[in-house]
């Protein structure tokens, strides 16, 4: 029975501000889930703390709303203990790139087969609009007493440097595009990041829906706004690394990721910046050590026999520590 959008609804009252970009991300995620060949019983959504992270309560799938900045720890732990789960993590930019940035970097090193969507709006919404790590230097959004004193993190470049094997960007109100990115991220074999740009109608009065939509830039010819985002693929861009590529070609590809990630302002690229499935996923690396890992992962191993006695053969396990007492010949 095909999963319908209504199946993914919960009774929980949605308390996001009207016009919040979170709605677009929620809708895109739910559409993606209904269009993907996934068993919804195996889908586990994890979130951090912040407006965006309430998403799991509005979605009828296993939903684990964790700690600020720690979503990746919980999500990776669950995926490793049961690799059959389809784990998707979501969280804000402050969550993932501020307090949780250490985990972000190290998740790249592991390359666990899961997806991570960052709701990127440049502000800490739930604490009333402080600057987040993606807000640019000198910007003064609505509730900042002074302009932002810090430079911003470039999530695409940081993800590349950290070893992420799928790096994409999308825009919350381009739900068709975001949905496709989510489907690609979930299908990707490895750790996949989507930097989902979104307006915060309450606190970010600079990068608004109108700003992204280019309503201040009317095309003189068509008299229509010229949106600031554009689709990378429409320009012939291909960020895929394949096994048959030469080192030079790989280098070229990496450089174009960096180049594209630096575009901002009037031209903001969305789409897949980088995809590399030649890096073995962490699960495969574990299987090299424990051949039964994928078929008998930690969550699926029976620990005791029917009488409760442990299945472990302690005598064999402790052999290296056991000393027989030797009696020498008389």
């Amino acid at each position: 029975m095909a999963l319908k959008l209504t199946d993914l609804k919960t009774e929980v009252h949605n308390d996001w501000c009207p016009g919040c970009g979170d709605f677009g991300i929620e809708a895109s995620l739910k559409m993606a889930l209904t269009e993907m060949p996934v068993d919804i019983n195996k889908v586990a959504l994890f979130s951090g703390i912040g407006c965006s992270s309430k998403l799991v309560h509005f979605t009828n799938a296993f939903g684990i709303h964790t700690l600020h900045g720690r979503v990746l720890g919980y999500a990776q732990g669950a995926k490793l203990a049961n690799p059959d789960l389809e784990v998707i993590a979501v969280g804000g930019d402050g969550d993932g790139l501020g307090i949780g940035v250490g985990h972000f970097v190290h998740a790249g090193r592991r390359n666990i087969d899961m997806a991570y969507i960052i709701h990127d709006n440049g502000v800490y919404g739930l604490t009333k609009g402080q600057a987040s790590p993606t807000l640019q230097l000198g910007m003064q959004t609505k509730s900042l007493p002074e302009p932002n004193i810090n430079s911003n993190i470039n999530p695409i470049m940081l993800a590349l440097a950290s070893g992420f094997t799928f790096i994409a960007r999308s825009y919350a109100y381009n739900t068709r595009h975001l949905k496709e990115m989510i489907k690609k991220a979930v299908a990707h074999k490895g750790f996949a990041l989507i930097d989902a740009l979104q307006p915060c109608p309450t606190y970010n009065d600079i990068n608004t829906k109108e700003w992204y939509g280019g309503e201040d830039r009317i095309d003189p010819a068509t008299k229509r706004p010229m949106p600031r985002t554009y689709d990378l693929e429409s320009t012939g861009y291909n960020g895929r690394i394949t096994a048959d590529m030469s080192e030079d070609d790989v280098d070229k590809n990496l450089l174009q990721v960096i180049e594209k990630s630096r575009e901002w302002g009037d031209k903001i690229p969305i789409g897949v910046f980088y995809q590399n499935e030649t890096v073995p996923i962490y699960e495969e690396r574990i299987r090299e050590r424990s051949p039964n890992y994928l078929t008998e992962p930690p969550a699926k191993q029976q620990l005791a026999k029917n009488d409760g006695k442990s299945v472990v053969n302690l005598a064999n396990l402790s052999k290296g520590l056991l000393f027989e007492s030797l009696v020498l010949a008389q």
Partner: protein, 689 residues
């Protein structure tokens, strides 16, 4: 060089009980009066030391291994600096014909192969004992040994100066000789040269590492212990490296002869093999790791920290193991050990793993646990059966990373904001910690709360000979875990992860279970797991969670909450209350106190949360004299007892110099308190180098 072909006569000495239980003072007196007669068979304290990284641990393990192969029992005290190469570490191995659980103050044989060990520890050797040393070091001046701290240098030089002795190794040797200690010069370099010639190795540097085994072998020569046991122990230690085995065995034989040739009469301490059952020789980190695997731990996360990391490394190196029964087609079990970027990731990953139904743990020490605290609160709020093995070390801050302390009890009991139930279980020795490592998972799952297994550095790093544990004694209990093959909850009502129940424990589904969808959140939540700020719900949900602590208190059997030991049937003169690895020296000291006619009771508290208030009250209320013994400054368990029972433990024996308590320290200080309790409200112990 295989031992099996050897045919020698080794007398089998019957096991005796009395040799173990002589007081330190008696031992001293005997040693003085009978310095040329054999006074001690199978009752020995042996010490080796050297620069960190020079093989001190391996030589001590080879020594202890040989003793255990000879049927004897051992206890090993391991002391080391927070450093990798250079600074001084030492290892004291106590050997007996009966099970022993602690170290003693005096050293009977000090086996040195560097000047520093001799300089630092010569004064710990009891008269009648022996020192093995390298005579080429005689002229070394004490203040030229860089790695000895200035205060120690000044202390030793002052001691020698008072006796008119020079501040050199010779001064130390003269002092020792005057104190009636037997000196055994072993020219290690000579032996290494001869060994090199025998195996045809021209590069002497390749053989330099055998020096510690040479000192072990020379020790066994003076102790009259057949060299076959040493060879067997060497073969175990270097199993896969034949060349290393050969050079060690050849060198050992030469060293054995050199030492034996110096014996004009039998040395006052002797080791004789006895018949015995097979036993395990292990450290606490190893017994806990074994317990975890047997207890079903299948995910362990950790960030490197002393002294906890050894446990994770043991688990990783035993990551695939044999099983019988169970559902694994491979008939192999496996544990996933993941090193994380920090302790926050360690606790959150382990928690995520626990949500899938895997038994998951993380292992750390004080500084790491400090970082984990937010994750602890989340696990408490979401009723996750997470296990944390916490190895205490000297604090606060970096504190004394490699030294012993029991300073985290009150922190562990109250860590994280807000109120939530937790299990805190403290083990006292290697055997107990094996079983407790299984139990802690049972508690975590039965009562659905974060559960902390509280260990200390002494237990973690000291070694002990124990009988092989019986894993079947602690069956695995998974509480209200919903069976994996359930398809749907079979009811029209949706599954409620946090359903209100009589005992506070709700049926637990895991991620991925069809028909049992649930939500978790760090916010206060309703039965489904959705955020809920309604005041009535808050009261019900808080009450539900806290009720589980009462459930645990009711359901955990008494013998898992505390141990109560009595040294004799008669009225106890003193009741000791303690926890953690002080159990060993207290039990050993009780034997000495009993010899002196002192009736002792010992209440060892193991479960601190939920606290066995009623029983502790009952055991302490009528006691003649209660002494709290702990390895911290303030007496943290005494404070917990006061809080829970309103009983004031008036007399305390504490130690916080970073070194574990010895049997003799406890014996002497308990007597001191008994002699005048009012004048000895707080005795501070200081032994240890």
């Amino acid at each position: 060089m295989k031992w099996t072909a050897v045919s020698v006569h080794v007398p089998i000495v019957p096991r005796t009980n009395d040799v173990a239980a002589q007081s330190a003072t008696t031992r001293l007196r005997e040693a003085k009066t009978m310095s040329r007669a054999i006074v001690k068979v199978n009752d020995l304290s042996w010490m080796t030391g050297g620069p960190q990284g020079s093989g001190v641990d391996s030589s001590a393990n080879i020594f202890a291994g040989a003793c255990v192969l000879g049927g004897l029992w051992t206890f090993g005290l391991r002391e080391y600096y927070s450093s990798i190469k250079g600074p001084h570490s030492y290892f004291e191995v106590r050997v007996n014909s009966d099970k022993i659980r602690s170290h003693v103050n005096n050293v009977d044989v000090l086996a040195t192969f560097d000047a520093e060990t001799l300089i630092r520890h010569a004064d710990e050797v009891a008269p009648g004992g022996g020192i093995l040393y390298d005579p080429t070091f005689s002229n070394i001046e004490i203040d030229k040994v860089d790695t000895i701290e200035t205060p120690v240098v000044l202390r030793i030089k002052a001691r020698l100066a008072k006796q008119g002795l020079p501040g050199t190794v010779t001064g130390i040797l003269d002092e020792s000789r005057k104190r009636g200690i037997n000196l055994f010069p072993i020219n290690y370099n000579d032996i290494i040269v001869k060994t090199a010639a025998q195996i045809g190795e021209h590069q002497l540097s390749k053989l330099s590492r055998i020096v510690n085994v040479l000192s072990v072998s020379a020790s066994f020569a003076i102790l009259g212990f057949d060299e076959t046991y040493l060879n067997q122990s060497i073969e175990r230690a270097f199993a896969s490296k034949k060349k290393v085995v050969d050079m060690n065995e050849i060198g050992a034989k030469l060293a054995y002869e050199v030492a034996r040739s110096q014996l004009k009469q039998p040395f006052p301490f002797q080791l004789h093999p006895i018949q015995n059952q097979p036993r395990l020789l292990l450290m606490g980190v190893e017994s806990i790791a074994l317990g975890k695997l047997v207890g079903g731990c299948r995910v362990q996360t950790y960030y490197p920290i002393t002294p906890a990391a050894d446990e994770s490394e043991f688990l990783e190196s035993h990551g695939n193991f044999d099983i019988s029964g169970g559902n694994n087609a491979s008939q192999k079990g496996s544990i996933l050990v993941t090193q994380t970027e920090d302790e926050i990731a360690a606790i959150t990953m382990a928690t995520g793993a626990a949500l899938t139904g895997a038994r998951a743990a993380t292992s750390t020490s004080g500084p790491g646990f400090s970082l984990m605290v937010e994750g602890l609160g989340w696990a408490g709020m979401n009723e996750v059966p997470l296990v944390i093995t916490h190895y205490q070390r000297g604090g606060p801050a970096t504190g004394q990373p490699t030294r012993h302390e029991q300073g985290d009890l009150k922190f562990i009991l109250s860590a994280a904001h807000g109120e939530f139930p937790r299990i805190v279980l403290c083990s006292g020795d290697m055997e107990e910690s094996f079983y407790d490592a299984i139990r802690i998972f049972n508690y975590a799952e039965r009562f659905q709360m974060p559960s902390i297994h509280l260990i200390d550095k002494g237990l973690a790093n000291n070694s002990m000979t124990i009988p092989p544990p019986n894993a079947d004694l602690v069956p695995i209990q998974r509480g209200k875990l919903i069976e994996a093959d359930h398809q749907g909850n079979g009811e029209a009502e949706p599954y409620r992860r946090f359903a209100f129940t009589q005992d506070g424990v709700s049926p637990r589904a895991v991620l991925g279970m069809p028909g049992y969808r649930f939500w978790n959140t760090g916010d206060e939540h309703d039965e489904m797991g959705h955020i809920e700020e309604d005041p009535d719900n808050r009261v019900k949900m808080m009450t539900k969670r806290m009720t589980k602590l009462e459930t645990a208190a009711r359901e955990i059997p008494e013998d898992e909450k505390f141990n109560f030991f009595r040294s004799s049937k008669k009225q106890a003169d003193v009741t000791i209350v303690s926890w953690g690895s002080t159990k060993g020296p207290i039990l050993d000291a009780m034997k000495l106190l009993e010899k002196d006619g002192i009736g002792v009771e010992f209440l060892q508290i193991r479960l601190v949360s939920p606290f066995p208030t009623g029983k502790v009250k009952q055991k302490l209320a009528g006691a003649k004299l209660v002494i709290g013994i702990e390895q911290n400054y303030s007496g943290q368990m005494a404070a917990v007892i006061a809080e829970k029972t309103m009983i004031d433990v008036k007399n305390k024996i504490v130690k916080f110099n970073g070194r574990p308590m010895s049997q003799d320290e406890i014996y002497q200080s308990v007597k001191q308190v008994i002699s005048n309790p009012a004048q000895n409200r707080r005795v501070v112990l200081t032994h240890g180098a």
